[in-house]
């Protein structure tokens, strides 16, 4: 993905320096960081000139942590302290991990939040902490390359990640000291990079088979707007499964016992992975393990992975149905993710969509590049009115438990985000004063087959006869795909709400402890960082308000209102360079309060402006 020229000759909406923002592809096997420099999107290299950082983390007895190639190389000799493919564990409980259906060469311990912690020589580590190590390396790489502090990052996640997996990714970024501008779905990121690079329009399908996850997204591209029509996938299907299939075959052929020690497991997986890669170019590959020698033909390999490929095709057909699109309406099929190098995978996609898929875009880098492009827009570096816009969907249905342990869908899958939707319920017993709200995610009808996201209670409902109370439950999903649920009894106005914290996420206590442990926050550094963050926040607000005043102050504010805002700005500027984060915060809050109404009026005016210059008779036939 060499030349991605964005027509933007040094233009910036405000006369301040360019804000440093990056896109991060936090992958199962490999991770990358990319950014936009003088209009060109590029992946950033480490000091040795490498862009790809293997997603491998090794905990050493002396307290050091190795990330990347060195850690990956040590996986077979130090399997218990070296974590590979940690993404497969994100947002999952111990029971889920066992359902992954393979032996993982780790020892697990359960934390207070039922998340699987990996026992290492440095103590138990959660998947979130392990991921944070990878993100931290990429953050430092970016800060060194760009010579400054980042305003934030767009981090990509598989489109089919559920609420818990998304929240876990955000938590990892927080631990790594990164401000997340947006979680972006990987196939959407790929579509952005592909679409802008080729100037593509129309309906495209992104087939994204990575190390541990599979996504299919169908998008409509219209002049810079990327509208996801449907997405589907399997968050536990990827190249790792191909490796496991080959490793199991070796175990069988070599007559090894199924109960292998972790070092042997790692070794076999490495053998399997090398064989898989070799089979992309040759018809067969020779294998040896101990005294056993054998040969794996491409046909045999394809037979081994056939059930896995079939799973991906099934998800494709479902996404097509959800999008209401026939295969022949698709203008292009783009292959993303390292596992699409496997010839059988390419052939399968070609057959399903009845066209040759595009494989000339670097499948390893395209996601990070797309994320960098969006990060640049979100950081405010884009040109007004022409920046790209991504309209994504929720991959899984969201709903509530109703009578009979049934799941009632409130927001069906593939609904455009953001979305807010309300449903009304009532009491079923006379005098009932509380109601349990059980929030679920999934496509199945029975509660037990769906993922339980949260439970909370609405209390203090005035006693009434059964069916008289009216309880409105509102679901709101933001642009990151994260859910908020609130419930309100309409007669009394009693209210309760939760920021959904998935059962398998970290508890707030665990996060607090990890933040404290993280050396980036040690001692006085913590206070310094808080002050710095507050100053950045204040500066950002001042710039935003200044720009808003210049654009619309005249039209939308009375002289008195404007004077009040300007006075508050002056006050904030006065404390900005002071040593006290709390004082700055107070002034930020005051300024936000006086600009409240102005903000609402601007949004309103903006929408009216989009429609202005048109009359009804113009838009009727």
């Amino acid at each position: 993905m060499a030349l991605l020229q964005i027509a933007e000759p040094g233009q910036s909406p405000q006369p301040h320096q360019r804000r440093l923002a990056v896109g991060i592809d936090l992958g199962t096997t490999n991770s990358l960081v990319a950014t936009l420099r003088s209009g060109l999107a590029e992946s950033l290299k480490d000091t040795e000139g490498e862009t790809i950082l293997p997603s491998a983390v090794r905990y050493l007895p002396d307290g050091r942590v190795e990330v990347g190639r060195a850690a990956k190389a040590a996986a077979a000799v130090d399997p218990l302290n070296t974590v590979l493919s940690v993404k497969r564990l994100m947002g999952r409980g111990i029971a889920d991990v066992k359902l992954l259906g393979e032996q993982l060469p780790y020892r697990f311990a359960e934390g207070e939040s039922h998340m699987p912690f990996i026992e290492t020589v440095q103590g138990p580590k959660s998947p979130v902490e392990v991921s944070a190590e990878i993100l931290r390396v990429l953050r430092r790489r970016a800060e060194e390359a760009l010579g400054g502090e980042l305003v934030g990052a767009v981090i990509t996640v598989p489109a089919y990640f559920d609420e818990a997996q998304r929240q876990a990714t955000k938590d990892a970024a927080r631990l790594a000291g990164l401000d997340v501008l947006r979680l972006l779905n990987e196939p959407t990121a790929a579509a952005v990079a592909y679409g802008l690079d080729r100037g593509a329009e129309g309906v495209v399908a992104i087939y994204d088979l990575g190390g541990g996850t599979f996504d299919i997204s169908i998008l409509r591209l219209t002049r810079g707007v990327f509208e996801v029509l449907a997405t589907g996938g399997d968050s536990a299907l990827g190249g790792d499964d191909f490796d496991h299939a080959i490793a199991n075959w070796i175990v069988e052929q070599a007559g090894l016992s199924a109960d292998l020690d972790p070092g042997v497991q790692r070794h076999l997986l490495q053998l399997a992975c090398a064989a898989k890669e070799a089979l992309s170019d040759s018809g067969s590959v020779a294998l040896a393990y101990g005294p056993w020698q054998g040969e794996l033909s491409r046909e045999r390999f394809e037979a081994l992975i056939e059930p896995l490929v079939a799973r991906s095709l099934k998800a494709c057909r479902r996404a097509l149905r959800d999008a209401g699109i026939e295969p022949q309406e698709i203008a292009a099929v783009v292959m993303v993710g390292g596992s699409t190098r496997v010839p059988r995978v390419r052939r399968a996609a070609a057959e399903l969509f009845d066209r040759q898929p595009l494989t000339d875009i670097d499948p390893d880098q395209v996601v990070a590049i797309g994320a960098a492009l969006q990060a640049d827009t979100l950081a405010g570096n884009g040109r007004d009115g022409e920046e790209l816009l991504l309209l994504d969907v929720n991959p899984l249905s969201l709903g509530l438990e109703t009578m009979g342990r049934l799941m009632e869908k409130v927001i069906p899958r593939n609904t455009t985000l953001p979305v807010a939707r309300a449903q009304e319920f009532t009491t079923y017993k006379d005098g009932q004063t509380a109601m349990l709200i059980h929030v679920l995610q999934g496509e199945r009808e029975l509660v037990k087959d769906c993922r339980s996201l949260a439970r909370f209670e609405l209390r203090g409902i005035p006693p009434m006869v059964a069916g008289a109370a009216k309880i409105r439950v509102t679901f709101q999903v933001d642009a990151d795909g994260l859910l908020n649920v609130s419930a309100r009894e309409l007669g009394s106005g009693i209210e309760a709400s939760v920021q959904v914290k998935p059962s398998y996420g970290l508890t707030d206590g665990e996060i607090a402890r990890m933040l404290k442990d993280s050396f980036e926050y040690a001692g006085g550094d913590k206070a310094a960082r808080a002050l710095r963050e507050q100053q950045v926040e204040a500066q950002r607000l001042l710039e935003a308000v200044q720009a808003a005043l210049e654009a619309d102050g005249e039209a939308l504010l009375s002289p008195a209102e404007r004077a009040a805002i300007e006075a508050q700005m002056q006050a904030l500027r006065g404390v900005l360079d002071g040593p006290d984060a709390a004082v700055i915060e107070t002034h930020v809050r005051h300024l936000t309060q006086v600009t409240d109404a102005f903000a609402a009026r601007r949004l309103d005016a903006s929408v009216k402006a989009a429609l202005s210059g048109r009359r009804l008779n113009e838009i009727e036939e």
């Binding site: 455009t416 807010a420 600009t595």
Partner: protein, 173 residues
């Protein structure tokens, strides 16, 4: 934007016949202005407002895009919500519903994919007929009962379509 109708939001006259392409163009123009991505660096309050506006816009767009939801919405604009009960006082339709469901059951039992495709094509034709019928009568207050009946039939067909999709998924296993 306050409580303006979904139609007014898109600067359209309330009507059942709607130019879908024009609606889509208008939607993209509007959502560019209010999408939370445009407010990533803005104060929290503005971000929240943008989230609410974008959600409202998406809701309006979804409602107008779907003929059955648009029909229902038009009726509600005339003052009265369409009640939830579906088949009351429409015995002919009740019969037809039962027949269609039986047919779907048979298709499932015989795992007949070609039959499912034919069944779907028939439903699409039925849908088009209902749309024609509704377009002709919804604006006339004297024909409100007829319009309501057609709107309910549309909703039923929507549900049947969803069931067909589920069946296709099961047959895909």
């Amino acid at each position: 934007m306050g409580n303006a109708s979904h139609f007014a939001l898109f600067d359209l006259e309330p009507d059942f016949r709607l130019d879908q392409d024009r609606l889509a163009v208008r939607y993209r123009e509007l959502v560019r202005r209010v999408h939370p991505d445009r407010f990533a660096g803005a104060p929290e309050r503005e971000q929240r407002l943008a989230l609410e506006e974008a959600a409202r816009l998406n809701e309006a767009y979804q409602t107008l895009k779907s003929p059955s939801q648009r029909a229902r919405y038009l009726l509600s604009l005339q003052g009265e919500e369409l009640s939830q009960e579906t088949t009351v006082q429409d015995p002919a339709f009740l019969m037809q519903q039962m027949e269609l469901r039986e047919e779907l059951q048979e298709l499932q039992d015989s795992a007949d994919l070609a039959g499912v495709a034919r069944f779907k094509r028939r439903l699409v034709q039925d849908q088009e007929q209902l749309n024609e019928g509704f377009a002709a009568c919804w604006a006339d207050p004297r024909r409100r009962d007829e319009a309501e009946r057609l709107a309910r039939r549309m909703q039923f067909l929507d549900k049947l379509f969803a069931e067909v999709r589920q069946l296709e998924e099961r047959l895909d296993d």
